[in-house]
C-alpha cells in the first residue's frame, strides 16, 4: 500500500514540538529532525508548574511545614531540562497540560469513575411477580410510575414510610436517580418518559432491535446512587444503598404492611433478583468490594462506553474512544492507585489517547485491511476475514511495522512516547484492534496484540518495563486457552484475570480489542446488553459517548462534576 498518507499526528506534533508554550521558547525545527537544542529552562517555562510552585510555597507558609517544591526533583535539578510540552487529546483540538490528565487534577476523570462505581442494574420483574402472586397486588404502568416517583425521592436519601428520619440535602445528591428500560415496547409506551431509557430513541434501529431481542420483555432499573456516597464508602455500597431504598419505595408505593411475612419475599426479590454489578469481587489477596475497577470485565467496560451508538459507521472511532476511557480507568485509577499508588501510571495511559498517534496507526490499519481484505474493516458481519493465524500475522505485522517506522521517521513522536511501555501499548493496541475489526473476533485481536509485542521487541531490541517483557512474552500461550484457570473469552477477562493483575498499559488496550470485534461487526453490545442500555443516558454527568473530549474538558477546567460539598462547607 502506498505510504503517502498525511500522518494524523503531524499537526499535533508540529504545534506541540515546534511552537512556544508559556516561556519554553521551543520554536522552530521540524518534527523529522533527529537533533534539537534543549534549553533546560526548568519548571518556569510551564504555566501549570508555576501555579503549582506558587501553591506549594503558600502551603508551606500557611502551615509551617514544607510541601510541594519542584526543586526537590533529583536533588535540585528541576523538571523541564527538556521542554515541558502540553498534549492534545486525540480526536479533539483541545491542548492540555499533562499534569491536568492526572485524575487528581481532572474532575471529568473522577466523574467517569464515580458514574461507573455508583451504578447498579436491578431487575424489576421478579419483584412485580412477587407482588402479584404472593400478595395479590395489581401492578400496572401507573403503579410502576408511582413506584419510580417514590424511588427517585427515596434513592437519594429521602424518607418514606417512617416519620422523623434524617434525610440528605437534595442539592448534595442531585446526581442520584433511577430510570428503567425494557424490551417491551408496549410497556415502554406507558412509562412516564422522565423515567425511561428509551432504547428506540437512544440507539440506531438495528442496534435497538438487537438489544430488545437480547433482553426480551423484561424490565430493569438503572440506578445511580449519589456520587458523594460512593466516594465516602466504596463500590459495594452501591447495591446496599439501592437495596435499602428499593425496599422502602416498594413498601410505600404499594402501601404494604411493613411487618407481614410476604414482605420478606418481596424484599428479597426486589433487592437481589437480576442484580448486575459493574464489577465482580476480587480474590482476597487483592480484595475489594463489588463495583470496584479491578472486577470490571473488559466486555462491561466496552459496553459502558457509548460511542458505538453514536458513530456505528466508524468502528475505529468506537475503538479509540474505548481506549481512552478504559486506559484512564484501568491504568490511571486501578493500577495507578488501587494497586500501586502514585503518579507515573498516567503517562502509560495518555500515550494511548493523546496526540493522535494511536489513532493514526489504527486508521492506517483500517485502510490496509479494506484494501487487502475487501472492506473487512467496515461495519458488517458478512465482510469479515476468517480469524486464523495467517490473518493475525499479516495484519498485526503490517500494523506494527508501520507504527515502529513512525517512531523512526518522526523523532518527536518517539520523544512523545519516550518510554518503551508507552510505545508497546500504542503499537499493540493498534495491531490487536485492527485484527479484531477485520475478523470480528476479540481473541484473534488479542493474538495480534502479542505478536506485535514480539515484533516490537525484536525490531528495537527492547520493549517496556519488566511487566511487559514478562507477560507479553508468555501471553500468546493463553490466548486460545480455555482451561478452567486460564480461560475466558476476551470479553469476560478483566483485571482480575490471573496474568493481567499487574499489567499496567494493557487493560485499556484489551478493552479496545474486545470492543473492536463487536464495533466491527456492528453489534449493539460487546457482552452485556443491560450495561450498554444503562449508560445510554444523557442525564449522567459524564458523557460516555466521548470520553476523550470529556477528559479534555476536565483538564481545561470546564467540566462540572457531581457530588461537590461546597453547599455545606464555609464559603471562602
Amino acid at each position: 500500500m502506498a505510504d503517502d498518507r498525511k500522518r494524523m499526528f503531524a499537526k499535533h506534533m508540529e504545534i506541540k514540538y515546534t511552537k512556544e508554550h508559556g516561556t519554553n521558547k521551543m520554536e522552530g525545527g521540524k518534527i523529522t529532525d533527529m537533533t534539537v537544542e534543549y534549553y533546560r529552562l526548568g519548571v518556569d517555562q510551564n504555566p501549570r508548574k508555576l501555579e503549582m510552585k506558587k501553591a506549594g510555597q503558600e502551603l508551606a507558609k500557611k502551615r509551617g511545614l514544607v510541601g510541594y517544591n519542584p526543586m526537590m526533583h533529583c536533588g535540585g535539578i528541576p523538571l523541564g531540562q527538556r521542554a515541558l510540552t502540553p498534549s492534545f487529546l486525540s480526536g479533539t483540538d483541545d491542548m492540555v497540560e499533562i499534569d491536568d490528565l492526572h485524575y487528581v487534577n481532572n474532575a471529568a476523570m473522577q466523574q467517569m469513575w464515580d458514574d461507573i462505581r455508583r451504578t447498579v442494574i436491578v431487575g424489576l420483574d421478579m419483584a412485580h411477580e412477587t407482588l402479584e402472586k404472593r400478595l395479590g397486588i395489581e401492578v400496572t404502568p401507573e403503579t410502576i410510575n408511582h413506584y419510580l416517583e417514590t424511588l427517585n425521592h427515596a434513592l437519594p436519601g429521602g424518607a418514606v414510610v417512617q416519620e422523623h428520619m434524617v434525610e440528605t440535602h437534595p442539592a448534595l445528591v442531585d446526581d442520584c436517580y433511577v430510570k428503567i428500560f425494557t424490551g417491551d415496547d408496549e410497556l415502554a409506551d406507558e412509562i412516564d418518559k422522565q423515567f425511561l431509557i428509551d432504547i428506540n430513541k437512544e440507539f440506531p434501529a438495528e442496534q435497538a432491535a438487537q438489544l430488545k431481542a437480547a433482553i426480551g420483555k423484561n424490565t430493569f432499573q438503572a440506578a445511580h446512587i449519589p456520587t458523594i456516597v460512593s466516594r465516602t464508602t466504596d463500590g459495594g455500597q452501591t447495591s446496599r444503598w439501592m437495596a435499602m431504598q428499593v425496599g422502602m419505595a416498594f413498601i410505600s408505593a404499594y402501601s404494604m404492611c411493613a411487618g407481614e411475612a410476604a414482605v420478606a419475599d418481596l424484599s428479597y426479590a426486589a433487592k437481589h433478583a437480576g442484580v448486575i454489578q459493574m464489577g465482580e469481587m476480587l480474590p482476597a489477596r487483592r480484595a475489594r468490594a463489588p463495583n470496584e475497577p479491578g472486577g470490571i470485565p473488559f466486555g462491561h467496560m466496552a459496553d459502558i462506553i457509548q460511542t458505538s451508538r453514536k458513530t456505528p459507521e466508524d468502528p475505529a472511532n468506537v475503538t479509540l474512544e474505548v481506549v481512552g476511557g478504559a486506559c484512564m480507568l484501568y491504568d490511571q485509577i486501578w493500577l495507578g492507585s488501587y494497586m500501586s499508588g502514585g503518579v507515573g501510571f498516567t503517562q502509560y495511559a495518555t500515550a494511548a489517547y493523546c496526540n493522535n498517534i494511536l489513532d493514526d496507526n489504527l486508521y492506517y490499519n483500517v485502510d490496509y485491511i479494506n484494501d487487502k481484505y475487501d472492506g473487512a474493516a467496515t461495519t458488517g458481519t458478512d465482510n469479515k476475514v476468517k480469524a486464523d493465524l495467517a490473518v493475525v500475522k499479516d495484519i498485526a505485522t503490517e500494523s506494527t511495522i508501520y507504527g515502529l517506522e513512525n517512531y523512526e521517521k518522526y523523532p518527536t513522536t518517539l520523544e512523545d512516547h519516550f518510554g518503551g511501555s508507552q510505545r508497546a501499548t500504542s503499537l499493540s493496541a493498534a495491531a490487536g484492534s485492527a485484527v479484531s475489526l477485520a475478523t470480528g473476533n476479540g481473541n484473534a485481536g488479542l493474538s495480534g496484540w502479542y505478536l506485535c509485542m514480539y515484533l516490537h521487541k525484536e525490531a528495537h531490541g527492547r520493549l517496556g518495563f519488566f511487566g511487559y517483557d514478562l507477560q507479553d512474552q508468555c501471553g500468546a500461550t493463553n490466548v486460545l486457552s480455555y482451561q478452567s484457570d486460564e480461560g475466558l473469552a476476551l470479553e469476560l477477562r478483566g483485571p482480575n484475570y490471573p496474568n493481567y493483575a499487574m499489567n499496567v498499559g494493557h487493560q485499556g488496550g484489551y478493552t479496545a480489542i474486545a470492543s473492536a470485534a463487536h464495533a466491527g461487526r456492528g453489534d449493539a453490545y460487546a457482552v452485556n446488553p443491560l450495561v450498554k442500555i444503562c449508560f445510554a443516558d444523557d442525564l449522567l454527568p459524564f458523557d460516555f459517548s466521548k470520553p476523550r473530549k470529556e477528559f479534555a474538558r476536565g483538564a481545561l477546567r470546564e467540566f462540572e462534576p457531581a457530588g461537590e460539598r461546597s453547599l455545606i462547607i464555609p464559603a471562602k
Binding site: V36, E37, R82, E458
Partner: protein
Amino acid sequence: MAYEPQYYPGATSVAENRRKHMSGKVEKLREISDDDLTMILGHRAPGSDYPSTHPPLAEMGEPECSVREMVEPTPGAKAGDRVRYVQFVDSMYNGPSVPYVRSYAAAINFRGVDPGTLSGRQVVEARERDMEEIAKFQMETEMTCPALASLRGATVHGHSLRLPEDGVMFDMLDRCRKEGDVIIMHKDQVGRPIDKKVNLGKPMSPEEAAKRTTIYRVDNVAFRDDAEVIEWVHRVFDQRTTYGFKPEN
C-alpha cells in the same frame, strides 16, 4: 566438526552485528583504566579493597556437594564480593547496542551474571570484580559509543529523546559531555560529581554508528527488510500460540 553457535538469524548488517555482540567477538576501540572505571561506576573509591559480604569461599568450610565441586566459582564469588551493578542506556538513534543484545551478550559470555532488560536501560548485576570485567569489556569495545550509550545507574530517561545538537544523548543530570573531540564523564553513573574528568574516547561518527548498530531503523536497515528475522519471530509466535512452550508436542 565443532558446533558453531549461530546466535541470531538474518542477513542484514544489523543481524550480523547482533550475532557479533552475542558471540563476544567484538572490536576493541578504546582504553579505560581500572581506576577510571571504578570512579565512574561509583561503588567504591579507586584503589580501595573490594568490600565483601562473606569470607573467601576457601575459608568458609562449605559442605561437600558435587555441584559445588563441578562449578568453578567466579573470582568475585570466590573472594566473597558484594553484588553490584552496571547499567547502560542506549540511544534509539543507532546506539551500538540494544538492551536485549546487551543482556544476551552478558548471559552468553560471562558467568555469575544477572542481566535485566528494560526499554531504556540494561542492568547487569554480578559480584563486584566480575561486574567490573563486564563493564570494562562493554565500555572498551564496539558495544558502546560514549555519545550514544551512557552509564546511568539512576535517572535513565533519554534513550528515545532527540539528540542534543552536539550528538550526545540527552541526560538531565549532564553526566557526560563533549569536550573537544572526546566525551568526558564528570559525574559517576548515579550523578555524583567525581574528582576528575574521565575520558571515554571519541564518539562514533553517524556513518560508523549506522554501520555498527544493532537496532533496526527505517532510515538505516529497516526491520521489514530482514525477512528471515521476521520469519523467525512468526515461528516463535506460531509455536507459542499453538503449543504453549512445548513445541515438540
